[in-house]
Symmetry: C2
Subunit: 202 residues, 2 copies
DNA sequence: TTTTGTGTCTAACAAACGTTAGGTGAAATG
DNA sequence: CATTTCACCTAACGTTTGTTAGACACAAAA
């Protein structure tokens, strides 16, 4: 391996993510992480600089993954509804394919400090902005009703992010199935549609 | 005061809630809480039994507040849509009127231990069940479309709970305004309504 | 065979943690 | 006035925290 100890490093970060996800960053000790890997706490420091660095790696790594997703979607020339469905599908796929790291990304970023915290919030804002563009486009295209885009996006993202609370890999619904249902819900709402509503889709 | 030191006790719990909300339970020390009140950490123990007890008081106190709300709503004989609007309004009001304790209720209950954790989850399930009843009734009344009630409720609650992330008392929107918008969103969805949709409301 | 590097170990560190014991001074109570 | 009660204090406890220093085992490279 050209990059020294990079394989072990990823193992450590994944083990840490699992612990941070289950108990939270502050409640997880370096000794806890080490025990998971059957080594001593001090041994971790040959692969990582500090506990803080682990959190930063997870948070910024996932932030980039999510951001790449929304950028790809917005580069495609589709209408707003299709793009929103794709963005949601993308989000749910990332979330479910690495649930631990996603949960850390969603919940534990509060423990970032100083400039790292500021930088992270900016990435998060950028992601929201990607969704806002879609909602705004939808309104311009006269597909979506007039809503507060910022407000709508926060509602959408919150629905999608809550998945992390209850999704388990052995569950009945697949990632894409969940995304599809959320999309329907977000687009159509709870209220019953009349057959005369020409825009109605299943 | 008949109950000794109960006034001071509430001050401590509120101060703790503010800290737990800002930095998380594990990251907040007894010395931090004490400093906020301009006393020493040891002095706290004249009013409370342990740090854990503070968290329990906040979590179970708020759980009861939320539960009383949904019970009142479901005791009233209104249709499902009206009851859902009331339940959401109620939820948002509680959330915004004590943002710190609500945030602790939503995020920090993970730090509860043993039987307390189990008991708390049960209360949470009961609250969700209250909402599920409304959604189910709405489907029976043929007001709501056919959806997975459990799924819909989680979406609704997640939207509502995300408020805690961005709501500030000095913000432009009032508590009831937020509740009203979320209700519209949840009921109507994003997609534009045609005028032929007789159920359409603003 | 020697050298170099990598991954882990033991041992220890200073700091921070939740919590307890026992004392002090002021206010309320008799 | 004497006594009790109350809210707080100082000092300290045992534990756990993140992290560092230095040694050892084992591999590949020279």
């Amino acid at each position: 391996m050209t990059n020294p100890s990079s394989g072990r490093r990823e193992q450590i970060i994944q083990a840490a993510a699992n612990l941070f996800c289950a108990r939270g960053y502050e409640a997880s000790s370096m000794r806890d992480i080490a025990t998971t890997l059957n080594i001593e706490a001090a041994s971790l420091y040959h692969h990582i600089k500090s506990k803080e660095e682990i959190l930063e790696t997870i948070c910024f790594g996932m932030a980039e993954t999510f951001l790449n997703g929304i950028r790809e979607v917005n580069d495609i020339y589709f209408n707003a509804e299709e793009r929103l469905r794709m963005a949601i599908q993308n989000h749910v796929r990332i979330l479910t394919s690495n649930l631990s790291q996603s949960t850390v990304f969603l919940h534990e970023w509060r423990s970032l400090k100083g400039e790292k915290l500021i930088a992270f919030k900016q990435l998060r804002d950028q992601y929201e902005k990607g969704f806002r563009t879609i909602v705004q486009d939808g309104m311009n295209e006269d597909i979506f009703g007039e809503v507060d885009a910022r407000f709508a996006v926060l509602s959408i993202l919150s629905s999608v992010n809550w998945i992390a609370e209850w999704y388990r890999e052995d569950g009945a619904m697949s990632s894409d199935e969940i995304a599809s249902r959320i999309s329907d819900f977000v687009l159509g709402g709870l209220r019953k549609k009349l057959v005369t509503d020409l825009d109605y889709k299943p």
